[in-house]
Amino acid sequence: MKPRIAGKPGAALLAIMLVASLAGRARADEILIAAAASLTDVLKEIGSIYRVGSKRKVNFTFGSSSMLARQIDEGAPADIFFSADLPQMDNLDKKGRLEPGTRKNLLSNTLVIVVPADSKLTLSSPKDLLKPEVKRIALAQPSSVPVGSYSSKYLADEGLWNQVKPKVIPVQDVRATLAAVESGNVEAGFVYKTDAAVSKKVTAVYEVPIHKGPQITYPIAIVKESKKKKAARHFLSFVVGPAAKERFKKHGFILLE
């Protein structure tokens, strides 16, 4: 009686686990890069170019920089960390989780003001945000999200924050900002240039000059506990090389160096 009942699901379970393990298996020389979600597209491209050239496959796990830093801190087996946020990298560095001498500030981004693609507003400078036609401005939560704090800091530097603040609608993140602008529920919003480039339903009307805006940095480093440091170094040298740089540029990132 008992074996019959335990047997069938048991066999099915075994078969499914076998299939699942085949689907999810990683080869020993494949490295894993923990990368900020905003880098998904460009890194997938770079990963496939690298694969063709070097015959080595790389895997990525994408998420928010703070979550990835948390996972690496708990010993998650990532080989490289590519953050969209300097403090997260600093935090891991302080805890001794990074391989010394491998950290590089690779990319930068700029802030842009976006309006709905069908908007009739003419915004040519941040001062125009004070116009009465601009009733609501979407901004990622300035207290917790990097892009939000960058934007509010920039407006404060321009001496506009106190007047703009009552118009601000704080939203969850860059995506939510874009969604609010796309829907036309707000007249304008602040996002990264690379994010604005993805959406066809918004127009970037003003780009904050890089020397005036806050320093936005994407640092990369090898994780100290990586067991595949040689492969990680190989990929890292590819990421800072000309072929990868060209891809980053094409996606609107600014190369630091």
Partner: protein
Amino acid sequence: MLILSLETWQITFFSIAVGLASTLLILPFGIAVAWLFARKEWPLKSMVETVVLLPLVMPPVSTGLILLKIFGRRSPVGQWLYDRGVEIVFNWKGVLIAMAVMSFPLLVRSVRTSFAEVNPRLEQIAATLGASGLRIFFVITVPLAFRGIVAGGLLAFSRALGEFGATILLAGNIPGRTQTLSLAIFNFVQLGKDREAYTLLAITVIIAFVFVWSSEWLLRSGKKY
């Protein structure tokens, strides 16, 4: 839209496989725990019940954080597993564990109710006729609670398929390795790729529909007794 990319097929297949594996994995434990809850009394029982149901009320991300703490390399458990070459974090096994933990309470709740509805007199009669406890369980209790068990399994599978918060923290979001339908949808939404997100959403709806419908059918055809 009809011609799905290889990547989409892989994500779909992977999600269903791990979701089913998770459900089958927790089924025997869930039935055992549900039976204990429904039929036995012991001191501090309500405490144990609460602990088992906790993942249902806690935000999935915090459950994921606890799982990451347990299975991460810094913990004794994680270190022990790591020394033996068992990887949970950033691995499909992490997906399996996250799904199993998050769907377990739903299974237990559903099965427990159906056990409670089985008239204990029938079990007592079987006992007076000389049936052993195990025999009573499999011949009387389980068949009578069958609908609840199927419903619980279905609920658990649905929860596993929709699992997001605990999975992304424990297993990461690795395309081709740990990315499930829910994680891929999230990723596409973040990137503003609504079309791809809707395609995966449609697949999720189809899977849910097929499973709910087939379980209804199963329950109807099993009504004979």
